[in-house]
C-alpha cells in the first residue's frame, strides 16, 4: 500500500514537465516607496498617479521571473470586481492568456474599457446582475490601464506577464517565490508603471535564494 502510493506519486511526477519539478525558491524584500498617505481602511488598494506614473496605494510590487516558459494548459480565470466605485484588486498580475472577469458589485452601471496598447477593449455598459459576467482575455504582455467611461476617476491596472512565476509583495515589500525551475533567469520587480528593477539569478534545485531589491 505504501509502495503503491509512492508509485502513484512517481507516475504523476513523470507526467509533469521537467521544470515543475524545480524546487528552488527566491525570497527577499523589495524596498517600496514611502507611503505618504494614511493607511487605507479596509485594506483596499487604489491606483494613484504622481507625475504621470501609476502605482498602487499603499505601495506594492510584483516580483516575477522573466523568461520564456512554455504555456501550461488552461489558466484559471481571475477577477477584477468593481466595488464602491473602485477596482478590486486595483493591481492584478496575470500570465498572458489569462481570462479576467469584471463583475459589477455596485448598484450602478459601469463601462470598463482600456485604450492601453497592450489591450484595447470596451465592455460597454453593464448592470450588476449582468450575466454572463463580462470577461476579457489578455493575450499580450504589458501594463493595461482599466478605466470606467461612467466614473472617470476609476483606475485599475492589469500587469500582463509572460511568466507563470510571479508574486505580489506584502505591504512591507517581503516576497517569496517557490517552485521555481533551476536555471539562469532575470528576476524583476515591478514597482510602478515606470519603475521595474531586475537582477540576474541562478536557481539551483533545492536551494532558496535570497534577493533584495534596494
Amino acid at each position: 500500500m505504501r509502495l503503491r502510493g509512492l508509485l502513484w506519486f512517481y507516475a504523476i511526477c513523470l507526467m509533469l514537465p521537467d521544470p515543475l519539478f524545480g524546487s528552488s525558491a527566491v525570497e527577499g524584500r523589495v524596498e517600496l516607496p514611502k507611503s505618504h498617505s494614511a493607511p487605507v481602511q479596509a485594506k483596499r488598494y487604489e491606483i494613484v498617479t504622481k507625475g504621470g506614473v501609476l502605482s498602487t496605494q499603499p505601495p506594492l510590487a510584483v516580483v516575477y521571473v522573466d523568461g520564456a516558459f512554455p504555456r501550461t494548459g488552461s489558466l484559471p480565470a481571475k477577477q477584477v470586481a468593481q466595488k464602491d466605485l473602485t477596482f478590486v484588486p486595483a493591481l492584478l498580475p496575470i500570465q498572458v492568456g489569462t481570462k479576467v472577469e469584471f463583475p459589477n458589485l455596485d448598484d450602478t452601471y459601469h463601462n470598463i474599457f482600456s485604450y492601453s496598447p497592450a489591450k484595447r477593449f470596451d465592455l460597454g455598459r453593464y448592470r450588476p446582475e449582468e450575466r454572463p459576467i463580462p470577461t476579457e482575455v489578455f493575450d499580450k504582455p504589458g501594463l493595461v490601464t482599466l478605466r470606467c467611461d461612467i466614473h472617470e476617476h476609476m483606475r485599475g491596472l492589469v500587469l500582463v506577464l509572460n511568466t507563470p512565476y510571479f508574486v505580489m509583495t506584502d505591504t512591507e515589500g517581503h516576497f517569496r517565490l517557490a517552485g521555481l525551475p533551476a536555471g539562469h533567469y532575470t528576476l524583476k520587480a515591478w514597482i510602478d508603471s515606470r519603475t521595474t528593477r531586475e537582477k540576474p539569478v541562478d536557481l539551483k534545485n533545492g536551494q532558496t535564494l535570497h534577493v533584495d531589491f534596494p
Binding site: 498617479t49 504622481k50 492601453s116 484595447r120 472617470e152
Partner: protein, 587 residues
C-alpha cells in the same frame, strides 16, 4: 440858457446811446459765448451719444457672446473631461482620439441640414480639432467627421503653446481664395485628470455672431488676420475699408477707438474694439460702421435750434437793453436838468452874496468914515461949549443950557466911539490882547460910578460876588461890557427898585448875572439887534447899540451874553467870560 438845456439833452441822449451800446455788447458777447458753448456741448454730446450707442450695441453683442462662450466653455470642459478622450491622450491612443470624440461630441456639431433659427444653433460647432502638447494640430484621420478644413485654415488653429485658459480667436476659412467666412474659435485646455498637467487643447470653431441693427443702420463685421469680413458691405467697399482699418490698427496700440471714414460719398463713423484681448490667437477686432447721416441731420437740426434760440436771445437782449438804457438814463436826465437849475440858482445866490458882501463892506467903511467924520466936529463943538462955560456974564439959565449941551456932546462922543468900535469889529479889524482882568474890582468901580451920577434914580444895589474873580480879556472891552449892562440896569429901573449883581465861577467860565426891576421885555423882541428900539414906550431910551456891542464883544472874548428872564417886574442878563486859567495876576 436854452442852448445849455439842449446841450444837456444831447449829452443825456449820448449817454443813453452809449449805455445801450455797452449793454448790447455784453448781451451779444454772452449770447455768442453761450452759443459757442452750447454748440460745443451739442457736438460733444452727439459724439458721446454715438459712442454710447455703439458701446451699448457692442455690449449687448458681447453679452450674447459671453453667454455663448460660457455655455460653450461649460460644454467644452465637460467634453474635455470625458474619460475616453483622456484615455486616448493619456494612454497614447491618438488613433482613438477623434473616433472617441466623434461619439462624445456628436451633439455639438452642426447637422447637415440648415439648422432652424433658434438660439441652440449658436452652440453648434462647425469643426473641432485637438492640439498636441506643442500646440500643433493633431490631424484627424477622417476630417469629414470633425468638420473639413483646408490645410491653410487648419494651420491657423495651431498655437505656439498649449493655453492654460480658454482662448478666443478668429480665423478665416479659405483665406487663399480670398472669400470665405470668419470663424470664431474657442480653445479649451485639457488637463490630465491624473497628473493635472496640460496635455492637450480642444479647439472648436463656430459661426460668429453677426450684428446688424436695422434701426440705426449700424453694420458690424470682424477684422482678423489682416482681412475685414463685413458681409453687409459690397466687396469694393470692404476692400477700401479694409485698407483704412489695417492702417489704423497698425498705427495705434489701443484696444478700441473710433474715427470717421468716407464710404461711397457717405460719412460714417467707424468703431473698432479688440475681440480677444490677451488671446494667444492673433488679434481680431470687432468693426462697426455707423452712418453719420442720422446724427448729422440731428446735429444740423440742433444747430438750427441753437441758432434760433440765439437770435431770440439777442432780440430779447436788444429790447431789454433798450429798456434798461431808458430806465437808467431817466434819473440821469432828471439829474442833469436839476443840476442845471441848481447851477442857475447858485449863480444867482452867489451874485446876491457878492453884492451883499460888497454892500456890507461899503456900509462898514461908510460907518467908519462917518464916525471919523463926526468925531472932529463934535470935539470942536465940545471945546466951544466948554470955553463958553468958562466965560462970565451970562445969565444962570444960559449956563445950565450950556452944561446940558456939553453933556449931550459927551453922549454923542460915546455913541460915535461905539459905532467906530462896531464897524471895526464888523470889518474884522478888532484885535484882542487877552490878559487877566479882575472882574470883581471892575464891577465895584462901575457901581461906585453909578451911584455918583446925578440923574441916578433911587435904586438899591445888591451885590453878591467873591473878591478877585479874574477873567481873560482886554480890560477896556470887558469894562465896556460891564458898564453897558450896569447902565441899562439903572436906566430901565423903576424908582425904588433894586439892582442885583452876582458872579461866580465854575473853573472854566465865570458868569456875571445882573438883574433889575422895571418894565419887562416882551417875548420875541430881539433886543440884541443893532439900532433896536423897544416896541413899548419908555421914559428911558438908548441909541440901540449898547446891548449889541456888549454881546459882540463878549462873543469876541469867547463868552456870550444872553437874556435870562424878563417877567414880573424883573429882568436878568447873564454874561459869561472865560476864566483866566486860575491866574491871580493883578490887573
Amino acid at each position: 440858457m436854452r442852448s445849455t438845456v439842449e446841450a444837456r439833452y444831447k449829452a443825456v441822449a449820448s449817454f443813453r446811446a452809449r449805455l445801450f451800446t455797452a449793454i448790447m455788447i455784453i448781451v451779444a458777447t454772452l449770447t455768442a459765448l453761450g452759443l459757442y458753448l452750447a454748440q460745443r456741448k451739442v457736438t460733444a454730446d452727439a459724439e458721446g451719444n454715438l459712442q454710447q450707442i455703439f458701446q451699448n450695441e457692442l455690449s449687448s453683442l458681447h453679452r450674447l457672446e459671453e453667454l455663448r462662450h460660457g455655455a460653450l466653455a461649460d460644454r467644452c470642459n465637460a467634453l474635455a473631461a470625458k474619460p475616453r478622450i483622456h484615455a486616448a491622450i493619456e494612454d497614447n491612443a491618438i488613433d482613438l482620439l477623434y473616433p472617441s470624440a466623434k461619439d462624445e461630441l456628436r451633439d455639438l456639431m452642426e447637422s447637415e441640414e440648415p439648422p432652424p433659427q433658434q438660439p441652440t444653433q449658436w452652440l453648434h460647432a462647425k469643426f473641432y480639432r485637438f492640439l498636441d502638447t506643442k500646440g500643433a494640430v493633431i490631424k484627424p484621420l477622417n476630417p469629414y467627421d470633425v468638420g473639413g478644413l483646408d490645410a491653410n485654415t487648419e494651420a491657423q488653429l495651431a498655437l505656439n503653446k498649449l493655453p492654460d485658459t480658454q482662448q478666443v480667436g478668429y480665423i478665416r476659412e479659405n483665406a487663399q481664395t480670398g472669400g470665405g467666412a470668419i470663424d470664431e474659435v474657442i480653445a479649451v485646455p485639457i488637463f490630465s485628470t491624473e497628473t493635472g498637467d496640460l496635455i492637450s487643447a480642444l479647439v472648436i470653431g463656430f459661426k460668429p455672431l453677426e450684428l446688424e441693427d436695422k434701426h440705426t443702420g449700424m453694420k458690424s463685421g470682424i477684422w482678423a488676420n489682416g482681412r475685414l469680413h463685413l458681409p453687409a458691405l459690397p466687396t469694393s467697399a470692404q476692400t477700401s475699408l479694409n485698407e483704412m482699418v489695417t492702417g489704423a490698427l497698425a498705427n495705434s496700440d489701443k484696444d478700441q477707438n473710433y474715427f470717421r471714414v468716407d464710404l461711397g460719398g457717405a460719412s460714417q463713423l467707424l468703431f473698432y474694439k479688440r475681440l480677444n484681448p490677451g488671446s494667444l490667437f492673433p488679434p481680431a477686432y470687432e468693426i462697426c460702421i455707423y452712418p453719420l447721416s442720422y446724427s448729422l441731420a440731428e446735429l444740423h437740426r440742433l444747430r438750427w435750434q441753437i441758432g434760433g434760440a440765439g437770435a431770440l436771445l439777442l432780440l430779447g437782449g436788444f429790447v431789454a437793453s433798450h429798456l434798461v438804457a431808458l430806465r437808467f438814463s431817466a434819473p440821469v436826465k432828471k439829474l442833469a436838468l436839476d443840476s442845471e437849475e441848481a447851477r442857475a440858482q447858485r449863480q444867482r445866490a452867489e451874485a446876491a452874496l457878492a453884492s451883499t458882501a460888497e454892500e456890507l463892506a461899503r456900509s462898514t467903511r461908510y460907518s467908519a468914515d462917518a464916525s471919523h467924520q463926526l468925531k472932529s466936529p463934535v470935539t470942536v463943538l465940545r471945546v466951544g461949549l466948554e470955553s463958553l462955560l468958562e466965560r462970565e456974564g451970562f445969565k444962570p439959565e444960559v449956563y445950565e443950557e450950556l452944561s446940558n449941551l456939553l453933556h449931550q456932546t459927551h453922549r454923542l462922543t460915546g455913541v460915535i466911539e461905539d459905532l467906530l468900535l462896531l464897524s471895526r469889529m464888523d470889518a474884522g479889524h478888532l484885535q484882542i490882547a487877552c490878559t487877566p482882568v479882575n472882574l470883581s474890582q471892575l464891577v465895584d468901580e462901575w457901581l461906585e460910578d453909578l451911584g455918583a451920577l446925578r440923574d441916578s434914580p433911587d435904586v438899591k444895589i445888591e451885590k453878591e460876588f467873591p473878591r478877585d474873580l479874574f477873567v481873560a480879556g482886554e480890560k477896556r472891552y470887558t469894562s465896556l461890557i460891564v458898564q453897558n449892562l450896569l447902565e441899562n440896569a439903572r436906566k430901565y429901573n423903576r424908582p425904588g427898585g433894586r439892582i442885583c449883581v452876582s458872579a461866580n465861577g465854575n473853573g472854566r467860565d465865570i458868569v456875571l448875572t445882573i438883574g433889575n426891576n422895571g418894565c419887562t421885555i416882551p417875548p420875541g423882541e430881539n433886543i440884541f439887534e443893532r439900532f433896536h428900539h423897544s416896541s413899548t414906550p419908555s421914559v428911558a431910551s438908548g441909541h440901540g447899540i449898547g446891548l449889541n456891542l456888549a454881546r459882540e464883544l463878549a462873543r469876541l472874548h469867547g463868552g456870550d451874553l444872553r437874556l435870562v428872564r424878563s417877567e414880573n417886574d424883573w429882568t436878568e442878563f447873564e454874561v459869561r467870560f472865560p476864566a483866566a486859567d486860575g491866574v491871580k495876576a493883578v490887573a
